[in-house]
């Protein structure tokens, strides 16, 4: 029995369960040269285009940036920077429709190219003399995230320290229509192999396996030619079957190993990177060219010239479609990604990002809208197609029933959302959509559960703290009372007042619990609110800005001021003051009206309304008329407030 490595060397391939054979329709774009897009008017560069966190923005609005200049920093290991794909000016840093199925807005840098395409200075590394650390740093700083679709930061994979048996380069590209990797290999096989060399230096694998589907003979031959000098690089033509390009499926195809559930490929000594990632690594290290552009397949029957184009990261989809002769159809859709796993775009300003490999604009007949969802007839064609050997119809059943325990039992989270099940379903049930919703729901529940646990802990900690403080207070009061008694006993002539005070305190200590009477509590709260208002009014006057006096919200604050301020301030005209008072009343009324639920509360509202005007009048003798003087007064008040704050601190 030959060892696994010997079998792999001998060219043996294995198979994975299920899979489907959708029409590939790659001929439309595969043999054409890569088109080069003219410089777009605007580039929309989302801060985060990978799995992980966004780096911090390094540029500001209006700043001129050079080609290749980082726009965000790689300030932690999960961050990958984005770069200016060409020279130009930063027009905005604002939210823009994201290249995500949700199309939720994300922070995006808008760049206006100046047409000069002026590079920053570049420092290529010498592979022979560079150490691993500088190589990894370069990969991270060049903004390389997995280009196959998931967008996992490449430096994290390349920086793994566990022993690596096989480095697998994924050139399978099993999704129908897409030929971006095919085109890249045909033109840049040599660079790709150089990139693999760099990755080998970092990971030191026993062998490199390059998987490519057997419907790309030209690319496969190019890769084999480029690898001919490398002894332990093996190019393997895998049979065309969807989804053989899935990470787990390709591992099974090439090595007959399975990644245990919940683990990563490195746990079985395998690292997999996309062929585009290898290309980008080579460019980053050898040319110091960060990830600025990528090859995108633009295809579909609504285009007169479907082809692969080299597009700058951030190019709006509309530019690509226009370049390829898009004839918009009524009731059409535009898909980012392939027909099996891609997502539809709500508008065409969505930018190309690092993981975008295809823009598909099909005609209605090519990829029709899904028909009516019928009942499942339990034909289990889905189970036969599932590459993860799941039971999709059971999962559907439990997804509909929202039964997380059963979903877990049937391994919902092993679903790779490849879409094979929904593809074969005769009842046109959007199975994957059900699973996505169920997964999102379960993740949310898990988050909620964690949060509830924390909240409970915090609640209990808070209760414990309150209890402790209460005990301490009681102890202190008791001590004081005792001390006083002591003082009394030691013969100082009984002071009636002190005596009374001590009694009161003792009494209070006996019943430290807060007043139980609701009205009493509310009354107390009102009183405190009153105090707070006075304080706020004083503070507001101190911060008073002349130009904001007219604002209703500020008026109330403007009316009152502390005596120290008053001395330097002149009298405000009566009408302004009454207006402010009116506004305050109106505001109080609005607040109370919104809250008004119990009668009790309402009575208090009335009490407050009658109280409030006088209170404000009392606390607000005179205010500024002259804006200039008011400003001076405000400045003085601010200074005083600050001094006070400082003294309080110290």
């Amino acid at each position: 029995m030959p060892s696994l490595f010997q079998q792999i060397q001998a060219g043996k391939l294995w198979d994975f369960h299920g899979g489907v054979h959708p029409p590939t329709r790659k001929a439309q774009t595969a043999q054409k040269p890569i088109g080069v897009l003219p410089l777009p008017d605007r580039l929309y560069i989302p801060l985060r285009q990978h799995i992980g966190v966004a780096g911090h923005v390094l540029v500001s609005k209006g700043q001129r940036v050079l080609k290749g200049q980082p726009l965000t920093s790689a300030d932690n290991s999960m961050a990958v920077p984005v770069h200016a794909p060409t020279s130009g000016t930063v027009m905005a840093i604002a939210e823009h429709t994201s290249a995500h199925p949700s199309a939720l807005p994300e922070i995006t840098i808008t760049l206006v190219p100046d047409g000069l395409d002026e590079w920053r200075s570049r420092y290529p590394l010498n592979l022979a003399t560079s150490d691993k650390l500088s190589l990894l740093e370069r990969i991270q700083e060049s903004g390389i995230a997995g280009m196959g679709g998931a967008g996992f930061p490449a430096h994290l994979k390349a920086g793994l320290t566990q022993p690596v048996d096989y480095l697998i380069i994924n050139a399978v590209e099993c999704e129908p229509y897409i030929t971006a990797d095919d085109a890249l290999i045909q033109e840049g096989a040599i660079t790709i192999v150089k990139g693999i060399d760099i990755l080998c230096k970092l990971l030191n694998p026993k062998a490199v396996l390059i998987g490519i589907e057997d419907d790309k003979p030209i690319a496969s031959a190019a890769l084999k030619a480029a690898c001919s000098q490398r002894e332990h690089y093996y190019v393997r033509d895998v049979p065309t079957k969807y989804p053989s390009g899935g990470e787990k499926q390709l591992i099974q195809l090439l090595t007959n190993k399975e990644v245990p559930a919940g683990r990563r490929p490195i746990d079985i000594g395998i690292v997999m990177l996309n062929v585009g990632t290898a290309f980008a690594v080579a460019q980053a290290v050898l040319d110091d060219q960060p990830l600025l552009s990528r090859i995108v397949t633009v295809t579909g029957e609504t285009l007169s010239q479907p082809q692969n184009v080299l597009a700058l990261i951030g190019t709006p989809v509309s530019d690509l479609l226009t370049f390829c002769g898009y004839q918009q159809q009524t009731a059409g859709k535009v898909i980012m990604g392939g027909p099996m796993m891609g997502f539809t775009l709500p508008d065409l300003t969505v930018p190309i990002i690092k993981t975008t490999n295809c823009i598909l604009a099909p005609s209605q007949y090519e990829l029709p809208q899904p028909g009516n969802e019928l009942d499942c007839i339990r034909c289990s064609a889905c189970a036969d197609a599932c590459p993860a050997s799941l039971l999709p119809q059971q999962l559907l059943w439990y997804s509909k029933a929202k039964d997380p325990a059963k979903l877990d039992e049937y391994n919902l989270f092993d679903c790779i959302e490849c879409g094979a099940c929904a593809y074969v379903c005769p009842s046109e049930i959007p199975l994957v959509q059900y699973y996505r919703v169920a997964k999102a729901e379960i993740r949310e529940q898990q988050r909620e559960a964690v949060k509830a646990e924390q909240a409970k802990a915090r609640f209990e900690a808070r209760n414990a703290r309150l209890e402790r403080e209460k005990q301490q207070r009681m102890a202190r009061n008791q001590q004081l009372a005792q001390a006083r008694e002591q003082a009394q006993k030691t013969g100082s002539n009984s002071n009636a007042v002190a005596d009374a005070l001590a009694r009161i305190k003792a009494k209070k200590a006996e019943q430290p619990a807060p007043a139980t009477n609701r009205e009493q509590v509310l009354a107390e709260r009102e009183a405190k609110k009153q105090q707070a208002r006075e304080y706020q009014a004083a503070k507001a006057a101190a911060n008073q800005q002349p130009d904001s006096v007219s604002e209703t919200a500020k008026q109330e604050q403007a009316v009152s001021s502390e005596p120290t301020v008053n001395e330097s301030a002149t009298v405000e005209p009566a009408n302004a003051k009454s207006a402010a008072v009116a506004a305050a009343i109106a505001r109080a009324k609005a607040k109370k009206a919104a809250q008004a639920q119990a009668e009790q509360q309402e009575t208090i509202v009335e009490a407050e309304q009658t109280k409030q005007p006088e209170a404000i009048e009392q606390s607000s003798p005179q205010a500024a008329t002259d804006p200039r003087k008011a400003a001076i007064a405000a400045a003085i008040a601010r200074a005083k407030a600050k001094k006070q704050a400082d003294s309080e601190k110290s």
């Binding site: 399975e258 099996m340 796993m341 508008d347 899904p370 339990r378 959007p430 996505r436």
Partner: protein, 355 residues
């Protein structure tokens, strides 16, 4: 205008549920033709009655459930149920029998359980069993094959027979059921059971004219026709190979063993395979996806269970053919079978090795 939003995958295989159902119906046609030629045209009338009843019943229920009627009729599932029931019952059974049966199949067995996809039992077989228990006389009045019938019946005769139980020339069904020699003839399976119970040996029993050929006059050809249709379905991947193979395999194996053990009281494996409704059951009824097992190993188990049950009921049961009971019993076991034959998910250890 705006862009359409849809969830992936955006392309789908073109075969729909309706097409699958229709293909199964089409694959029944060779069998139906042979049956009509060999056992009289009654089956055609039963088909017409059954299909119209099924459509009416389905439409009625959909109306009551306030759901769209047309799309449901267009999925052909009701028609398939009707066809299977119509070819399963005696061709000259009275008209109300098939009407009651079809109505029961659609309304009670299928729709009351939640409609297409939710019924635990195969509707056609559940209805068949219900009829068999409720109307045992009418359900066993199979005529011998045409070659053995004293009178040949025209289409018109068939219509008369189904609606009045008398042919146009005034023969009653019972008369027609009798052979040329005036002895009432049941199906080969029925005859065999009666004879064996009466103490006759197999060889003695097989002397009767009803046993002409391997599996009784006519029955061989009917079964061969259904076998052909079934193989076509397998070839077109409408049904999987596992269930039919398991049904036939287990039936063959166990009847072979019993035949080898006691050739005188057990019919040969070939007789078992080509008599009664064996082929119809293996390819058309057991493979009904709704009520069959859904896992690969489960399907083998489910099919084997049906084969075993057919043999046991044929040999020891109180009814001549055990297909319907066998399938219903296996239907009951499906949830259990499915639960214990779940495939190993990628990346998980095999069951038993612990989670």
């Amino acid at each position: 205008m705006s862009f359409k939003i849809a969830s992936s995958p955006h392309n789908r295989i073109s075969r729909s549920t309706a097409e699958i159902m229709l293909l199964v119906v089409v694959a029944c046609i060779p069998g139906i033709i042979v049956q009509a030629l060999l056992f009289g045209y009654g089956v055609l009338i039963q088909l017409v009655l059954a299909i119209s009843t099924a459509w009416l019943a389905e439409a009625l229920v959909m109306q009551l459930r306030a759901k769209p009627v047309l799309p449901r009729l267009k999925d052909h599932s009701a028609m398939l149920t009707a066809v299977l029931l119509a070819i399963a019952i005696p061709p000259y059974a009275p008209w109300w029998l098939i009407v009651i049966g079809t109505f029961f199949a659609i309304v009670i067995v299928k729709q009351l359980y939640g409609g297409l996809g939710n019924n635990l039992f195969n509707p056609a077989m559940a209805a068949y069993v219900m009829l068999l228990i409720a109307f045992p006389l009418q359900m066993t009045q199979w005529l011998p094959s045409v070659s053995l019938q004293p009178e040949s019946l025209s289409v018109l005769d068939a219509v008369c027979a189904v609606f009045t139980q008398y042919s146009c020339s005034g023969f009653s069904i019972t008369q027609l059921q009798s052979g040329i020699d005036g002895v009432s003839m049941a199906t080969p399976l029925d005859t065999l059971r009666t004879d064996l119970a009466a103490g006759l040996t197999l060889t003695e029993s097989m002397q009767q004219p009803v046993f002409y050929g391997i599996a009784g006059a006519g029955w061989l050809w009917v079964n061969l026709a259904y076998l052909a249709g079934g193989l076509m379905l397998v070839k077109l991947r409408v049904i999987g190979w596992r269930i039919p193979a398991a049904v036939l395999g287990s039936l063959f194996l166990i009847s072979l063993l019993s035949w080898l053990a006691a050739a005188d009281s057990n019919p040969s494996p070939l007789f078992q395979l080509f008599s009664g409704a064996t082929m119809l059951a293996a390819f058309f009824i057991a493979t009904d996806p709704v009520s069959a097992s859904t896992t690969n190993n489960g399907r083998l188990l489910y099919g084997a269970l049906i084969g075993l049950m057919i043999f046991i009921i044929r040999k020891y049961g109180g009814y001549p053919d055990g297909v319907a009971f066998a399938i219903l019993l296996a239907n009951m076991a499906v949830p259990l079978i499915d639960y214990y034959t779940r495939p190993r998910t990628y990346g998980h250890k095999a069951k038993g090795a612990g989670k």
